[in-house]
Every structure is written in C-alpha cells, then in structure tokens.
C-alpha cells in the first residue's frame, strides 16, 4: 500500500516503531518508503536525539529504537488516537 503524504513526525514515528525489533538500513528504506539519502538524514536526526542506536549484530549494522524513544512513541500514539477518537465519523 502506498504511504501517501506523511509529515516528518509521522516518518519519525514509523521508523521508531519499525526499529523496535532492530532493522537494517535496507529494511528501513523499504518499509518506510524512503530514498536512501532521506532515510539517512532521518536516522542521523533520531540518532542525535538518542532515540535510535546503531549496533553491530552478526556483522550487520542494525538500527534499534532506544528506551528514550518511548516518550515520543507514547505521545504520538496518544495524540493520533485522541484526534481520531474526538473527530466526527464519516458514515454512509
């Protein structure tokens, strides 16, 4: 399914959520539908914030979401679920 037009915060959330289980750069690029350069920029930013860490596992560079990112993931989930819950519903 196409990803549509996401905001930077939505892309951060998508990367952090996906990397909870540890992912390679290629997997992140594929799953989050980003080009390599943009994906690297996002990963650098999240790394600088301490939300994601790159570790070597079995000779591969794996990106893993840190515990610190929990605050961002929790706030994002709360805000998005609330905005959906508090909005009118489309009905036929």
């Amino acid at each position: 399914m196409k990803t549509g037009r996401r905001t930077e915060f939505e892309i951060y959330w998508e990367i952090l959520s996906f990397c909870k289980s540890g992912q390679t750069f290629t997997q992140i690029v594929g799953r989050c539908d980003l080009n390599s350069k943009i994906a690297q920029d996002y990963l650098n930013f999240l790394g600088d914030k301490g939300y994601i860490a790159k570790v070597n596992e079995e000779g591969k560079g794996i990106y893993r979401t840190t515990a610190k990112a929990g605050e961002y993931l929790a706030l994002f989930t709360k805000l998005y679920q609330e905005l959906f819950d508090n909005s009118p519903e489309f009905k036929l």
Binding site: M1, R5, F9, W13, L75, E89
Partner: protein, 221 residues
Amino acid sequence: MAENIGTKFGRELNSFFYFVIINVVFSGLAMGLSISFAILNILAVADGIMKGVLFNWGSVPLWISPQVFLAALGVIAAGFSMRWLIYSSQMLADADGFKKEYLKSQQLSDGLTSLIMRAMAYYRAKKTTIQMLVLVCRVGGICFLISAGLQILNGFLVLSAAFDPFLLAGIVASVLASAAVGVAGLILPRYFSSYSSTWDYRLKEGEKAEEELRKMMGGSE
C-alpha cells in the same frame, strides 16, 4: 479506548469502501450509458445527413436537432464518466488495501496508530483528487439530467409522428436510467464533502498534535 477507536476506524473504513463501490457502479453505468447515447445519436445524425433530412429540414437548421445535442452530451458525459470511473477505481484499490491493513493491524501493537497515520497521509495525498471527483460527479450528473430532458423532448417528437409502444418503453427506460445516474451524480458529491470535512478536521487537529511533537523534538527543522 483503543478498542473503541479500532471499531470506529473499521466502521468508517467499511462506509468508505461501500461508498467507493457505489461510485464505481454508477460511474461504470454512466460511462456505458453515455457511450451508447453518443454512438446511437451520432449514427442517427449521420443517417439523417446521408438521407439529406437534417440539411433540408425545412427552415430548422441542423444544430438544433435533439440528436446533435444528445451526441455532444454523450461525448462530454463519456469523458467525465471515464474520469469518474478511473478515480473511483483507484480509490477502490486503496480502500481494499486499507481493509487488508486493518485486518492485519489487529494483531500488531502499533497497528491502529499506523493505520490512522496512513489514512491521514492518504487523505493529504488524495485531497485534490477528491475535490476533482466532486466536480466530475456534478458535471456528469448535470449532463445526464440534461440528457434525460432531451430524450423526453426527442421521444415526444418521434412518438408524436408515429406512436410505437416498444419505442415508448425503450425511451422511458433510457430516461429513467439517465435520470438515476444524474441524481446519483448530484447526491454522491455530498458524501465526498462529508468525507473531506471529516478528514480536514483531523488534519487540522493533526497540526496541533504536530506542535506538541515539535516541542518534544526540540525543533527538528
């Protein structure tokens, strides 16, 4: 709360899915009808021209013949119906994708948030298409209502010259089909507007949410 939101998302997704199916059905009908009108009336005009009837129709010039209008309307309506069908089919594929994602999301911890986020991203990307669909539906609907009116006029002219009950039945069926598609073309945009206003509200609320996230990120730009 998560279960309620999930149920609400599922209900809304179903409404959207069935709404898009209705659009595909009516746009398909509209395209079929408009192409058949165009061809039948182009043939009638061509036949008239070959027999010299339309050129020598007393003092009445060719351009006010109902068949000429019907043929032109048929071609215009076919163009709009095709756009309507293409947009609707694309949206049906997207709605189907969302339904599959929704089923999968129930087994994932972040599944629902991911779906809400994707639905918002989808609406941002499709907003212009939806606005275009509203316009295309309305123009198509108006074309079909005018076509129904012209068919009544044409039927009256033809039947007053020589009454034929089978022809009358055919004209009535054709007028009813055109009127039904015309009315659908005017009613369906209301639902598109309702869908748009729902998601516009969410996008607006999403901007407020973004501000909070920006504060947490300490300004990411």
